[in-house]
């Protein structure tokens, strides 16, 4: 649990995994991926969809950043890392991560 609204610190060597209740599916109507959970859904932008897909418990945060930096080579690496961190924090905040990140 985050203490007093301080942003979570996500360790680079942790292996994030989506909570059991969360599931990704493609939405033909909007051509976006959705992250579905009970009664709700998050519309994912392409980067978020890539990150969520890699949250299987096998890849470290570091590895996820590497993958994305490779795929979005035109963007500065720090920006990619920031995006990964903030999206993982959002997921954790909403209880969409398994265990503590």
């Amino acid at each position: 649990m985050g203490t007093g609204g301080r942003p979570r610190v996500i360790a680079l060597d942790s292996r994030p995994r989506l909570a059991a209740k969360a599931r990704i599916r493609f939405d033909r109507k909007t051509a976006r991926y959705l992250l579905l959970y009970p009664e709700r859904g998050l519309v994912l932008n392409p980067t978020a969809a890539d990150i969520a897909t890699l949250c299987t418990g096998e890849h470290t945060v570091h590895a996820i950043v590497e993958r994305l930096a490779e795929k979005y080579a035109s963007q500065p690496r720090e920006q990619v890392e920031r995006e990964v961190m903030s999206f993982l924090a959002t997921l954790a905040e909403r209880g969409l991560m398994q265990g503590e990140p």
Binding site: M1, G2, A19, R23, K29, L36, G41, G95
Partner: protein
């Protein structure tokens, strides 16, 4: 049809039958008239057509969906079209073996309702000795690896127990806790005098759930749904009529909400007669309250009309006999006195008991 009208959720009311007799049940008071008219193939077609329309969430509900012996086939079919499938159940009747069979079929989430935190008070609301069995089912849900939503409908008899309810949800390792204040339609309206809380009770409960919400953030989602009898403005009922939700009744009527078919003068169609897409697009019942043309004053010129869509059509009808009236729950409604007098009544103890849900139409009060 534009994105303004895209259904995301299909509420499949598989049957109105239920072994419980909850005094707040949202099924129509005359639910006994609606039989289970859809077979397995009908429902599977509804799921496929709903998915094509844009639906991604499926609620298998009722009544009690476990009473359908084709529930397994329905879950399998729902997952075949990639719907996020949520079983909404009282947990009765269910064996651990049957629940275990639903797991490999792809059921995504199980929502179990309890009525209070102890057997006597919970069973009194449910009209059946069920509490201990429900807890057992909730434990199986987690043991078998499903996510668990615990749902508790709130009213004057259990609003004081929020902290105990939260503690129970934590002990059960629920992933989501829904603390949903009673909506006064269906049987809840029949029993309103015995259920409606006071403002003081609500404030206290709201504080307790806000504290739990903050403490459990990231671990358990705690949701508190205010009753609109105590809000300044009504809720956007169903996110607006015919915008985001499709409800299919046990006999196959396609509806914008659980109670729409009880409103006189509206025509709803049956999935057996036409494709779902055509019904969603141009059935007169769906179009009756879409957009703003139907709105009376004060809604018509109100800046909140795109936020709450004028409130609940069923509530408007049941309180004023006019489904096109501004929801009396709104403080701007000319009929708001009806809500104020109900609140006033809540300050004194109820003078009667409960009327339990039964298939015989209840005497309307």
């Amino acid at each position: 049809m534009s994105d303004e009208y895209r259904p995301y959720t299909l509420v499949a009311e598989l049957t109105y039958r239920c072994p419980l007799r909850c005094v707040y049940c949202s099924n129509p008071v005359d639910y006994g008239r609606h039989t289970d008219g859809l077979d397995t193939a009908d429902w599977l077609r509804v799921f496929r057509e709903a998915e094509e329309l844009g639906v991604v969430q499926l609620h298998l509900t009722g009544g009690e969906p476990l009473l359908r012996d084709d529930l397994e086939a329905l879950i399998e079919g729902a997952r075949a079209v990639d719907l996020y499938t949520n079983l909404i159940t009282s947990g009765i009747p269910l064996s651990r073996e049957r629940l275990a069979r639903l797991r490999p079929l792809g059921l995504d989430n199980v929502q179990v309702s309890i009525q209070d935190v102890a057997a006597p008070s919970s069973d009194r609301i449910a009209g059946l000795r069920a509490f201990e069995r429900k807890l057992e089912v909730a434990r199986w849900v987690k043991e078998l690896g499903f996510p668990l939503t615990l749902n508790v409908v709130l009213h004057r008899e259990n609003l004081g127990h929020i902290e105990e309810i939260v503690a129970l949800a934590e002990a059960l390792a629920a992933d989501r806790l829904e603390l949903a204040n009673t909506q006064y339609v269906g049987w809840a309206l029949v029993n309103r005098r015995a259920l409606l809380p006071t403002a003081a009770q609500l404030d206290e409960a709201r504080r307790a759930s806000a504290a739990a919400h903050a403490r459990l953030r990231g671990k358990m989602e705690v949701l508190f749904v205010m009753p609109d009898y105590y809000s300044e403005f009504p809720k956007a009922c169903m996110d607006g009529w015919g915008r985001r939700f499709l409800v299919v009744s046990p006999d196959g009527l396609v509806l914008p909400c659980h109670a729409a078919h009880t409103l006189p003068g509206l025509v709803f169609e049956n999935v057996k007669d036409r494709p779902l897409e055509a019904i969603w697009r141009d059935s007169p019942g769906f179009n009756a309250f879409r957009g703003e043309a139907w709105m009376p004053e004060p809604c018509k010129s109100c800046e909140r009309r795109a936020i709450d869509f004028g409130g609940c059509r069923c509530q408007a009808f049941y309180l004023t006999r006019n489904a096109a009236a501004t929801d009396p729950a709104c403080s701007l409604s000319p009929d708001h006195g009806l809500i104020e007098s109900a609140r006033q009544q809540a300050l004194s103890a109820p003078d009667g008991g409960f009327e339990y849900r039964t298939p015989r139409p209840a005497a309307r009060k």
